[in-house]
């Protein structure tokens, strides 16, 4: 049980970081960056490539993270800003960010070849046994990074002036600019943070998955599902969704059967969406809202008769 929880949390932390990368961008710009998975891939590929070329691991990792951060910013300027300038409410960014995803992925395949490459082992060799459950240091690191990311982000959001400006932009971008906030700068920052979070997820998962240009698809989609479970409105909720997804997948695998990890999380997602359409952690108390929702519906039904 503890093993399930630990393994689930460690992989959930990676899903959660990708989900958070989606959510931070969405929080500020109301855009879903469909190339988020590919940002993860960029960090993995660069880290692997540089490490193979003989650079020390820490340097490869920092270059990888810097690159995914920068790539996030580039996506904003190339694929998102021009679209939003034309029409703030269009969904056209869906096509353009998807286009960037295809370009990044294929470019990586051209540069590195389509097969998997080795990734520095980092802390993956060292094991820790907690109460009969074992966890590698790398997995522990993933959980720690996730906690730091979510706590750090929340502190930044609620306690610093910059974070509060971000909240203001999220709720009313026009009014925020009317108090002097540079909305564009914040959008750039959001895409950068998104790139950094996705890159961090990549570095954390790399030792298990190795480096492959097509990893972006795999993790983009799981991160997106985690986002759905948690709720898209708040980055912290997205991380929650990732952790829930991780524990559910590992739990389903252990208690139901190996293939249950494919469908069980989706059953949960469906139930979640039916009960709390805006995600599990969207606003404090989903159950309370559910109860009042049912009450309201019965009231209107009665009214209709």
């Amino acid at each position: 049980m503890l093993q399930v929880l630990l393994s689930g949390l460690s992989i959930g932390a990676v899903y959660g970081l990708v989900a958070m990368a989606f959510a931070v961008v969405f929080y500020v710009t109301r855009v879903i960056n469909f190339a988020t998975g590919q940002l993860l891939m960029v960090a993995i590929m660069l880290t692997a490539g540089l490490s193979k070329a003989g650079l020390p691991d820490w340097l490869s990792i920092s270059v990888g993270l810097t690159a995914s951060t920068a790539a996030g910013v580039v996506i904003y300027f190339v694929a998102v800003r021009p679209v939003l300038r034309f029409d703030r409410f269009s969904f056209a960014w869906l096509v353009s960010t998807l286009g960037v995803a295809i370009v990044l992925q294929s470019a990586a395949a051209i540069i590195y070849g389509p097969t998997s490459q080795g990734f520095p082992k980092l802390l993956n060799r060292d094991n820790l046994v907690i109460g009969g459950a074992s966890i590698t240091l790398q997995e522990l690191l993933a959980i720690i990074v996730a906690v730091v990311a979510v706590v750090g982000f929340e502190i930044f959001r609620r306690r610093t002036l910059f974070g509060k400006v971000g909240m203001a932009i999220s709720s009313d971008p026009e009014m925020a600019s009317a108090i002097g906030a540079r909305v564009t700068a914040y959008a750039v920052a959001a895409f950068a943070i998104g790139g950094l979070l996705a890159g961090a997820a990549g570095v954390l998962i790399g030792p298990i998955t190795y480096a492959n240009p097509y990893l972006g698809d795999t993790y983009g989609i799981t991160g997106f599902v985690a986002l759905m479970i948690g709720g898209i409105e708040r980055p912290a909720a997205a991380m929650g969704g990732g952790l829930v997804l991780g524990v559910l997948s590992v739990g389903a695998n252990t208690f139901i059967g190996s293939q249950a990890s494919d469908w069980f999380p989706f059953v949960v997602v469906v139930v979640v969406l039916l009960l709390a359409p805006h995600g599990l952690f969207a606003s404090g108390d989903a159950l309370k809202r559910l109860a009042s929702g049912i009450g309201r519906r019965t009231a209107t039904l009665k009214g209709a008769n």
Binding site: V78, D87, L94, V95, G99, V103, I110, W263, L273, A304
Partner: protein
Amino acid sequence: MSTFLARQSPRSRRVTIGMVVLLVAYLASTFGVANGSYGTQSLVLVAAIFAILALSLDLVAGVTGLYSLGHAGLFALGAYSTTLLNSKFGWNLFLLLPLSIAGVGIVGLVLGFLSLRVSGLYFAITTFIFTLVVVVLLSDFSFTGGLQGIAGPVFPDFPPGLAFLGSSVAWCVGLSLLVTIVIIWSIRSSPLYPVLLAIRDAEPFAAAAGVRTSVMKVGIFGLSASLAGLAGWAFSFLGFISPGQFSWTVSVNILVMVILGGINTRLGPIIGAAFVSAFPVVVSIDPFLQEVIFGLIFVVVIVFFPQGFMGLVGSLARRIRARFRPTAVVVEAVEDDASTPIAYAHLAPQEAVSTTRALPAVDEVALAAKNIVFGYNRGVLALNNVDMVVKRGNIHGLIGPNGSGKSTLVNLMSGRMSPNSGTITADGVRIERLRAPARARRGVMRTFQSAVLVRELTAQENVGIGLYSRFPGIAARSPIWPLLMGARRDSRAIAQKSIAALTSVGLSSGWATTRVADVPHGVEQLTQLAAACIAEPSILILDEPLAGLSSGEVEQVSEILRGLKRAGVTVIVVEHQTRFIFEMCDEVTVLAAGELVTTGTAADVRANERVREVYLGQ
């Protein structure tokens, strides 16, 4: 044929000829493809199937504003049910056609019903999850062939006598696409199209016109789903089906096709489908480079032409037309008008609105709100125990300072909201729990403070939305609208009545054909008034009809109100301009801070001390 054509007007004759030419060309090209090489066939047929999907998605996404990512899942259901029921149970393929259309349609209705509890992005997400679940189920069960998939059924060849027609599958797919095009284009040319756009852009307006918007949305999603089922049915004959062909990326790709081709256009989804599905097969260069270029095209097209290929074509066409006929550009003409006063048609107040329902019995009560209590979420009460009784055939004013609860009361009377307690009766019937469309059908119509109209439609089309509840079966008939004689007659009737209604509110025919996005505020307000009057309401509620009107236009509205009164319509007017209210109204109700101050004749109200206090701020 010739006599049939002779009976038509020159314009509709040209349209009919055009349609026939188009149909013949379509069938000829289907013939060409059916007799073409396998290579051409598989290329065109896959593109055609995606065109069906893209068209059906455009109906929900582009027209109705519901961005569905569930179409790959629905597509999969159609393809798999056809394949499995045929190969495992031997069901006839032609029996499976209606079955998969209806079956997937029903799944769509259920999915739509569940998903529509949330809107916008969350609708996309819920339907997205649906696709994920379908694909996971298809891959994990062994009777579906698991991950590796299953060979589709073989479509029977033509009998020898018809062998010259070529490949039967090509005809099957070609005709499926043709049916889809007919349905989608028919809806686009039917009076349902403006209604759907109104649901997308101006839902309160649609509801106030008597459209049950949520039922309509679920219904349209169901129709779109059944077209996806049709696509799935046809797709199963192309060879091989496996879960990977219906993954979420396919859902996204269909949306990409729609956006890339041009959302909410006739040809855009078809062009987008052809491009996206054919590109990887047709362009044979280094495969990785090809992928890179594919992605770049997405970005470049969307960044430079956010409205897709059709947007590009449209702007080119406008430029060319402008070069040859620079004076004929409508937009410029309108902008010229902007600086001059609105050109009103000759006023004919006595014909303003003919109503058959209202009975001129002045003492009878038309609408009565009693003991109304209403509060927004746990806040202060917006209305506290308010009474308002409106006599039949009267013009009844409702005034009060900002924030006094006038708009709230109007919303309660028109059905946008229901009171916490208290009763509202119209013509003696309790209506306080009815939704807006049901009240509209009972003859209670309203306008909105700031006009909410569909900006991309013309004034005339917007006014036509008001007639939705007066022509039965618009929704049911819309998929084959142009083919129905009665429907075409109705279209003409709706157009004529709309123009007449616009004329009756004093707008000349020039405005009728101008997009609302391009008309000045006053015209928009009057258009809204026309849309409410056209359905011949017995009770008409006007929420600040004068907002933003010039003095000439105010006189115009007065004239219209007098016409309505003559026709026996009961009118409730909320307005700030008290001079107008006192001049026009038989009775006036005054609200302040959510409470009733007084009701009485203009003179009574003017003389009332408390009114002076609270309202005039003295």
